[in-house]
Symmetry: C2
Subunit: 217 residues, 2 copies
DNA sequence: GCAGCTTTGTGAATGTGCGCACATGCGCAT
DNA sequence: ATGCGCATGTGCGCACATTCACAAAGCTGC
């Protein structure tokens, strides 16, 4: 389920605030979802709650981490040292959450050697060496659209088995390679869709899909 | 539908390659989806195809633009001039696709005045003035998590009615305000989930949801 | 004009996610 | 020890998305 990471982040925050136990309703409130959905999601992991009491935060964190495969770090390699690649490498949130940046590569020699977020940019030809020596499974494509397919091909050849694609193109990859796409312009276009259909007052956009909610204050 | 932006991008590419007509099957191939789904999606806009021939690319582009509300530009304002805010402002893809950056604001005086992507960073107190003078409907939250709720509140008070949130927190907004969330770490966690459940060979992750596909080469 | 090929548009079946509502089970107070 | 309250876990129905399969419809060549 795509909501487990959200629960996990909230539970970690609660644990930092020394909250030991939480009810499905409390977690649902914080996550902005339905309480029944929380219980269904958590029951999928097994019956780790106590009836009449709630869920033990620390134990739930451990179980979700286990389910998501976050018991160890997953180093990532970023292809493309342009605006986005630099921002991703410099964004501390990845390393904090278990995804240290093992390397940043670019095809342009001019960009090789500069240091971003504590990582030196290397040439894309070094990709296989980085992936194999650091045992990287996840590659991030942060190139211009025209270079994205080549970047993906190189990642696959180097041994990556998952790709997070920020380029606005559909990547063609062998079976077994997992691709997730984040298209920033698409998100804005979806907002403009709702803006355009906006009625004078009081009507909100329901259930677009997993995302995009209008919550009450 | 969340797929219309994808179709739109592909159709614009095809138009640039002087392709005048396209079949649902051809479009489905390029978009990485089912042909029947393409036809259902397009029929939702009205019957704009010609049986036995296909769809006229230019006309379809016009209709999808109209449906998505992309007949005019939607200026956006970015709150937060950190790593991500800078990358978003410097990323040319927004302006190209109809979302010019009307302004970048930050709460830190130290960041005010610097120029990013041709836009000068202004103080967050100028937000109402920017939003009203440029008639901005869409605000982008690119602040640290702790500042995100305040940023959202300010955007709403300034008059924005849609928010694209990059901070890993659940925003609390009045009814009628549309929020979409992009959490980069969540995307990586979903990939690690599939990596962790990976079986030795030949099994791929099916139907996570709208996203994340393993396409054959 | 008409037959045949091609592709759209759509009814029906299937699958999936969601949320209500309730039974189950645990802890606590008396 | 026993009953009561409370929160979990889950069966069921609903609504929506997806896909199949086919009928309607246009273009082409004769």
């Amino acid at each position: 389920m795509a909501r487990l990471p959200v629960y996990l982040r909230i539970l970690i925050e609660q644990a930092n605030d020394n909250v030991e136990s939480i009810s499905s309703e409390g977690l649902a409130e914080l996550a902005g979802v339905n309480a029944a959905k929380v219980r269904k999601d958590l029951s999928y992991l097994g019956s780790y709650g106590t009836r009449g009491v709630g869920y033990e935060v620390a134990f739930l964190v451990y179980q979700i981490r286990r389910e998501l495969g976050l018991t160890h770090d997953w180093p990532v390699v970023i292809v493309g040292a342009g605006n986005l690649g630099q921002a991703l490498a410099g964004y501390g949130g990845f390393g904090e959450r278990g995804f240290p940046v093992a390397g940043v590569v670019d095809i342009e020699q001019a960009k090789v050697g500069s240091v971003i977020g504590g990582v030196r940019v290397r040439h894309i030809d070094d990709l296989p060496q980085i992936v194999q020596s650091r045992r990287v499974s996840i590659g991030v494509v942060a190139t211009p659209p025209a270079a994205a397919q080549d970047a993906a091909d190189r990642l696959v050849r180097a041994g990556c088995t998952s790709i997070l694609n920020f380029a606005p193109v559909v990547l063609n990859v062998p079976i077994g390679i997992i691709v997730r796409k984040v298209d920033l312009a698409v998100e804005l276009q979806i907002l403009s869709y709702y803006e355009q259909r906006r009625t004078p007052v009081g009507l909100q956009a329901f259930g677009s899909n997993d995302n995009g909610r209008g919550a009450s204050a």
